[in-house]
């Protein structure tokens, strides 16, 4: 299941960015710094010791993937009903997300990566467009208000580091490819750039108050009284970033089952059972 380094790089950037977007409120400048250092250190140790090849690590990743799918399918379905499809119920949205993930996930890793690569053109194009559209709303004074205070620096850094490490385990050990430090720094740079953009537009205080600060900055866009109310486009961007994280989490479950169960029918049975379990738990959260 070898993939080339560009595919890995793009996938890692997309996954870490998705994690970053949904934890925007819990990330401060310092937790960003300490968390990324901690993650880098851990990833290096994991690379040297082949950590993923231990049975315990695989089992832990399997459990984490289930937890991720439960928790973030719930979050994503609420995000969609809040911002995109206001008239629909979260149950219907969760069902559709999990069904799409199930069908796409079962196609295999290569299909997933090809879909991510294809989508990345649109995702990065809209991210770049977002930067240009929000440039007129940047308030340089907000740089002086960047808050270095955090409620619990240790926990926030740990949380952020965990997300970076989790994204690493979803790609590199499965594809059996070497981790490049360039991938890590590119993803950190992309996140830092977005982090600063949001803070420059909204300010530190408002960033902490809003549920989706990355979407709120696009609510401000009004170019020549014509280009406005474009946040829905960027909500779609947000959705896709997160969809791919859930998709690869699902593949992690499938990968674990394939390792220990030989019969295809049994794998399918367990996979359906786990998906139903995830669906029910995500809807009652």
């Amino acid at each position: 299941m070898k993939t080339n380094k560009i595919e890995n790089r793009i996938t890692y950037i997309i996954l870490t960015f998705a994690c970053f977007l949904f934890n925007f409120k819990n990330i401060t400048f310092l937790s960003f710094l300490f968390g990324s250092l901690l993650a880098l250190l851990f990833i290096f140790i994991a690379e040297k010791t082949n950590l993923y090849h231990f049975k315990l690590t695989k089992f832990l990743m399997f459990l984490l993937a289930i937890f991720f799918l439960i928790f973030y399918t719930n979050k994503l379905s609420y995000f969609i009903t809040d911002n995109i499809l206001r008239e629909y119920s979260t149950i219907l949205i969760s069902f559709t997300i999990l069904l799409t993930i199930f069908i796409l996930g079962k196609k295999g890793y290569h299909t997933i990566i090809k879909v991510i690569l294809l989508a990345s053109y649109f995702l990065f194009f809209f991210s770049l467009l977002g930067v240009f559209l929000t440039l007129p709303y940047i308030n340089i004074e907000n740089i002086t208000n960047i808050s270095l205070k955090s409620n619990n620096l240790f926990l926030e850094s740990l949380n952020y580091a965990f997300l970076l490490i989790y994204s690493y385990f979803l790609i590199y050990p499965i594809t059996k490819t070497k981790f490049h430090i360039k991938d890590f720094f590119l993803s950190i740079f992309y996140q830092l750039f977005t982090f600063l953009l949001v803070i420059f537009v909204l300010g530190s205080n408002l960033t902490k108050l809003y549920q989706y600060p990355y979407i709120v900055i696009f609510k401000k866009v009004n170019l020549i009284g014509f280009i406005q109310r474009i946040e829905i486009i960027f909500s779609m961007n947000y959705l896709f970033f997160f969809f791919f994280l859930l998709l690869l989490s699902f593949y992690q479950i499938l990968y674990f089952l394939k390792k220990y169960i030989k019969k295809d029918k049994k794998i399918n049975f367990f996979l359906i059972l786990i998906t139903i379990f995830i669906f029910f738990l995500s809807t009652i959260l």
Binding site: L85, E87, I103, L206, L209, Q211, R229
Partner: protein, 298 residues
């Protein structure tokens, strides 16, 4: 089978089931809120139809009471057979009865409502109902915006500013409007520590100096024999530290009938600013003027 199942699911997301006609939306473009005897009173200006000749939208004012904003919007749906739509909200009016507790409720509403855009103007007025009935949101928005740009006496406070300042417990400045025959800007109102303080028209210019909100305005000075010095303040920036305000003005001399020299113009304008700004602050004021124009030829 799988493909047929997927195609069937696609039909669920066509948007047909949640389709709403434009005529079925109650588009609210302005809201006025006050508190009377522990209950809120809300005046909502709703776009009903557009005048075919003037193409200006006709609005109707609805008055409802309730215990909070959500409750009032629910009350509104009892009188309207339409879906409340807040995405086009452009003006929010309030008066002295809206204090800390009320601000907390209003801010919570807007922070948790993804439909609204918080870049709408928030102003203060004693005559909320009259303002909404006799004018429209566009007129008020233009009035504040034009004054802010030309005379620098108003402040264009948006809901973003209100949320930000309120949570930081900083003073919130609102443009204060009154209505007699016409709408008029009556200075500013400041909300701090659960109290409002009024700042009159002339003083609001100087307060804007300290808040670094000056865009442009005109200054005139009369010397002997009905002769005048007219200055146009093109730009101004104010920087503040713990002990001092640094104000840098860019002045253009329009008329210099008084035949004043550059240094004299500088002194006159600096004195004018210092005397007016001293009452607002005890900090030291450092004023630097860059003067250009026709004073050398006169």
């Amino acid at each position: 089978m799988k493909k047929i199942f997927l195609i069937l699911i696609l039909f669920l997301f066509t948007g047909c089931s949640s389709y709403i006609e434009l005529n079925d939306l109650a588009i609210i473009n302005a809201i006025g809120i006050e508190k009377v005897n522990n209950t809120y009173k809300m005046y909502a200006s709703i776009i009903m139809e557009t005048d075919k000749e003037t193409t200006t939208p006709k609005t109707t004012i609805y008055e409802v009471t309730g215990v909070n904003l959500n409750d009032m919007l629910n009350q509104l749906t009892l009188t309207l057979n339409k879906k409340i739509y807040l995405s086009h909200l452009d003006l929010f009016l309030l008066n002295d009865t809206i204090k800390t507790q009320e601000f907390t409720e209003i801010i919570n509403f807007f922070l948790n409502n993804n439909e609204t855009r918080e870049d709408f103007l928030v102003i203060c007025s004693k005559n909320i109902k009259e303002l909404l009935e006799k004018t429209n949101y566009g007129e008020i928005n233009d009035l504040v915006e034009i004054n802010r740009q030309e005379a620098s006496q108003a402040i264009y406070t948006t809901m973003y500013d209100v949320i930000n300042k309120f949570t930081l417990q900083e003073p919130i400045y609102f443009t204060n409007l009154e209505i007699t025959e016409h709408v008029k800007i009556k200075g500013l109102k400041v909300f701090l520590n659960n109290n409002y303080q009024e700042i009159l028209e002339n003083d609001s210019l100087f307060l804007n100096y300290l808040l670094n909100n000056i865009n442009t305005y005109k200054y005139n000075y009369s010397c002997q024999d009905n002769k005048f010095l007219y200055l146009n303040i093109l730009a101004s920036t104010t920087n503040e530290n713990e002990k001092e305000f640094f104000i840098a003005n860019e002045l253009k001399v329009i008329t210099n009938d008084c035949n004043l020299k550059k240094d004299e113009i500088n002194d006159i304008f600096t004195n004018y600013l210092k005397t007016n700004l001293e009452k607002f602050t005890e900090k030291k004021l450092t004023i630097k003027n860059t003067i250009r124009g026709l004073y050398e030829n006169k």
